[in-house]
């Protein structure tokens, strides 16, 4: 299978709940591709709270989201849930 396309959403400077809304909008826009595993969405944020709210919301929507610390904030990687991958 081809490597999924990565869509990066840089919302550094934003704080929750804007972060969440922007992340949700991006997930909504790419819902089909995400579900199909054709793309991943990477959110770059410097709001610590977003590392909790975004993965929680994404989980309810059926996606897997993992957050990791990067030099200038956090990198939240949203992708199709593992069990849904072929």
């Amino acid at each position: 299978m081809d490597e999924p396309k990565t869509i990066t959403l840089d919302i550094r400077g934003q704080i929750c709940p804007s972060c969440l809304l922007l992340a949700l909008r991006e997930a909504n826009r790419n819902a089909e591709a995400l579900r199909a595993g054709a793309c991943d969405v990477v959110v770059l944020t410097d709001d610590h709270q977003a590392t909790t709210t975004i993965p929680a919301a994404m989980g309810k929507m059926g996606f897997a989201a993992t957050a990791e610390r990067i030099v200038q904030g956090y990198r939240i990687h949203i992708r199709r849930a593992r069990e849904e991958r072929g």
Binding site: P17, L20, L24, A27, A31, Q49, T53, A56, A57, E84
Partner: protein, 740 residues
């Protein structure tokens, strides 16, 4: 914008913020704060649209999840129904929440699960062993039996507070087969441990992995000593390489071997075993084990040896029997032929043994025989053989004798040895023996002839006074042959009824007439007769005397009946009886029956016996005499004074007459000794109230003397020779006619 419109705008924005906050809270995040999101941005990014879209995705995801869960539930249901175990889920109150198909079948008679679901287990399941285990403390296990099946249940409490589970999961497996296998294994184990045969199981390298108790008992090793060893431990060294090669060849090619083997046991002894070795193979055909079954056949071997001994030996004396003796005799002949040597056969017959056996009983007789065997063994060299070939008959095989005299010397020693008294329970018994001797090759070159001729020679000793030995010679053989010829002829004469009776009158001197007659047996041959002293002993020996005696009684009584029918006054007819006849059961009854058949009273018959017959068994004689006496039959003692006299019997037995032997009559009145004896016998008879009858009167002087002694009844040539029936009848008729 009017203030009202502005107010409405603000209200709308508040409404939007409130709804967005509500949606965000549902999404799990914080409410919007005006300082973080101004109204313009709020309207620009359309949070309600975003969250609504996000919700659509949440719902879609939930739907996906529910479908997956439903599928998973169906999968689990199928798995639970398909599995061999029974499964029950009970709630806190013991109500069935769920169960699988196997549980329905086992515990609820195969009903649909819905019929028992939501019902208390106690109400629908009769298996108290299962319900009694509820609720479990943690995890509980139970085994129970239902409808002849064995079950194992694991009850697990899940959820809830400690000690009070919310639910109980009951997993039941059918262990019927396992139980059956366990029982079978126990049985095999019992069999293995208690079977009388020793069993050893070794692995593919022939290392012992298991032995049973019997194996340990037979070999003396303990189980722990044997485990890990190989069966070479028991190698006795008595079998060669070829034996073991053949054994392993059989095991490899046929899968088993059976045979007798000698093994060395723990104490160093070597014992005979009957052994079976079988191989056990896995499904791939590879040997996994060897099973060896052993039976200790020591006792069997001993029995075989003993039986072999008994087949060739006399049980009582443990001397070789006739079978083994013949074998030794054949070997001796073969050896003597090779070496041109000679050997002797001594046929030893005990004298008077029968008397001891009959009078003192078999147990005494047996002790005597054992002592005889011991004495005989003591006289012989190692190479010689003594065997017992009959009741009181022994045969000695003396090999490599230097001369016939050496055999006679040995016979002397045997006679001396058996002449010595035998002691038994305070009694001193004398037996003695008669020995016939044959020497190879002079007296026979085969076993049968040597034995037969020795037997002949032994009989010669018996005839000539016993207690000695005699060497066979061919004249003896000729005499035996003649005797045999005579016996055959006599048998034919008896069968053909050719024997006849002659009658010698018995005269009453006082009355001056014939009062009775003695019937005397005659065997006519050609123009003459075979002398009675020649054929009577043969008749005795061959037991022909029994049918002859019966014929005599029939003829004599028929003759008397005939005479009486003619009106001739004969008081009785006297017949002679031998010991053999007297001691034959039915002798008296036969005579009595014959008297009845002829219509004659008992006193018409007199039976004459010699003293020797009486002495043989006075008790038995007494019983016969009493029976005859009850029927009036007369009894006379023949040849009185010549035999072994015991005057005691005269008073004790029912006797009518004494017949004075002719040997005492011959020389009277000239010989004073004979006169004294004759007078004494007549006097004895008179004083006991018996009749005296004198035999062999040939002269008038003898008659006068006897009359003087008081003897009234006489017989002899002076009055008449024995007469044919016709002549006797004529004589009586003539006497009657003259009135004398």
């Amino acid at each position: 914008m009017s203030s009202q419109a502005a107010q409405d705008h603000q209200d709308a924005l508040r409404y939007i913020r409130a709804k967005v906050d509500q949606l965000l809270t549902l999404m799990g995040t914080l409410p919007l704060r005006p300082e973080e999101l101004d109204d313009a941005t709020l309207l620009e990014i359309d949070p309600i649209g975003i969250v609504a879209d996000a919700f659509a995705q949440v719902i879609a995801h939930l739907n996906d999840t529910n479908r997956a869960l439903a599928t998973a539930r169906d999968e689990i249901r199928a798995i639970l129904d398909a599995m061999g175990a029974g499964l029950l889920v009970l709630d806190q109150g013991g109500v069935i929440e769920d169960l699988n198909r196997q549980a329905c079948n086992w515990f609820f008679g195969g009903v649909d699960a819905n019929e028992v679901r939501a019902r208390p287990l106690r109400d629908v399941c009769t298996c108290c062993q299962l319900t009694a285990a509820l609720p479990p403390q943690g995890t509980a296990e139970r085994e129970f039996t239902l409808d002849a099946r064995h079950f194992h249940a694991v009850l697990t409490g899940i959820g809830g507070q400690a000690g009070q589970p919310e639910k109980t999961v009951v997993l039941v497996t059918d262990i019927t087969r396992r139980k059956a296998i366990e029982a079978e294994l126990r049985l095999y184990a019992e069999t293995f441990n208690h079977t009388a045969e020793g069993i050893l199981i070794s692995d593919h390298e022939n290392r012992v992995v298991q032995v049973n108790e019997a194996f340990c008992r037979i070999t003396g090793y303990s189980r722990t000593e044997l485990i890990g060893r190989t069966p070479r431990t028991f190698k006795s060294g008595l079998h060669n390489k070829a034996f073991y090669e053949a054994m392993w060849c059989s095991i490899r090619e046929r899968g088993h071997w059976q045979g007798e083997i000698f093994d060395r046991v723990r104490n160093g002894n070597i014992i005979p075993l009957l052994q079976t070795i079988s191989v056990v193979r896995d499904p791939g055909g590879r040997i996994t084990h060897y099973i060896s079954v052993i039976t200790d056949i020591t006792a069997l071997k001993e029995t075989q040896t003993r039986l072999d001994f008994l087949a060739h030996h006399d049980v009582l004396t443990e001397l070789p029997n006739r079978l083994l003796l013949n074998d030794r005799l054949e070997q001796a002949i073969a050896r003597a032929q090779r070496e041109h040597s000679s050997f002797a056969v001594l046929f030893v017959d005990l004298d008077r043994f029968k008397t001891i056996n009959d009078s003192l009983g078999h147990h005494v007789g047996d002790r005597i025989l054992m002592e005889v065997a011991k004495r005989l063994r003591g006289l012989l060299r190692r190479a010689d053989t003594v065997g017992r070939v009959g009741g009181d008959e022994f045969v000695i095989l003396a090999e490599r004798i230097a001369s016939p005299e050496a055999a006679e010397h040995l016979a002397d020693k045997v006679v001396d040895a058996l002449r010595r008294p035998f002691h038994h329970a305070d009694r001193v018994l004398h037996i003695g023996c008669s020995i016939g001797i044959t020497v190879y090759p002079d007296d026979g070159v085969d076993a049968i002839t040597l034995l037969k001729n020795a037997d002949t020679a032994m009989y010669r000793v018996k005839e000539t006074g016993r207690d000695g030995h005699f060497r066979f010679n061919h004249e003896l053989s000729a005499a035996v042959d003649e005797k045999l010829t005579l016996e055959n002829a006599l048998r034919q004469a008896v069968d053909a009824g050719r024997l006849v009776l002659h009658y010698q009158p018995i005269v009453d001197l006082a009355a001056g007439r014939i009062v009775a007659a003695e019937a005397l047996l005659r065997w006519p041959v050609g123009n003459g007769f075979v002398p009675p002293d020649k054929f009577i002993p043969i008749a005795e020996e061959s037991k022909l005397i029994i049918p002859i005696g019966a014929q005599v009684a029939v003829m004599a009584l028929a003759q008397l009946a005939k005479l009486r029918a003619l009106g001739l006054p004969l008081e009785y007819v006297s017949i002679n009886a031998s010991g053999l006849q007297i001691f034959t059961p039915g002798f008296a009854a036969g005579l009595i029956a014959e008297l009845a058949r002829q219509g004659l009273p008992g006193h018409c018959l007199q039976v004459e016996l010699t003293e020797n017959v009486l002495m043989r068994d006075m008790h038995a004689c007494g019983a016969v005499f009493e029976e005859l006496r009850r029927h009036g039959v007369r009894i006379a003692i023949d040849d009185f004074g010549t035999g072994y006299s015991s005057l005691a019997y005269l008073s004790r037995l029912p006797i009518d007459a004494l017949k004075l032997d002719r040997s005492f009559v011959r020389d009277i009145p000239g010989d004073p000794n004979d006169c004294a004896i004759a007078r004494a016998v007549v006097g004895l008879a008179d004083s006991l109230g018996l009749e005296a009858i004198a035999e062999g009167i040939e002269t008038a002087a003898q008659e006068t003397a006897l009359l003087n002694f008081g003897c009234r009844k006489v017989q002899g040539f002076l009055y008449s020779r024995p007469l044919t029936p016709e002549m006797f009848t004529a004589r009586l008729q003539a006497e009657c006619a003259t009135g004398t």
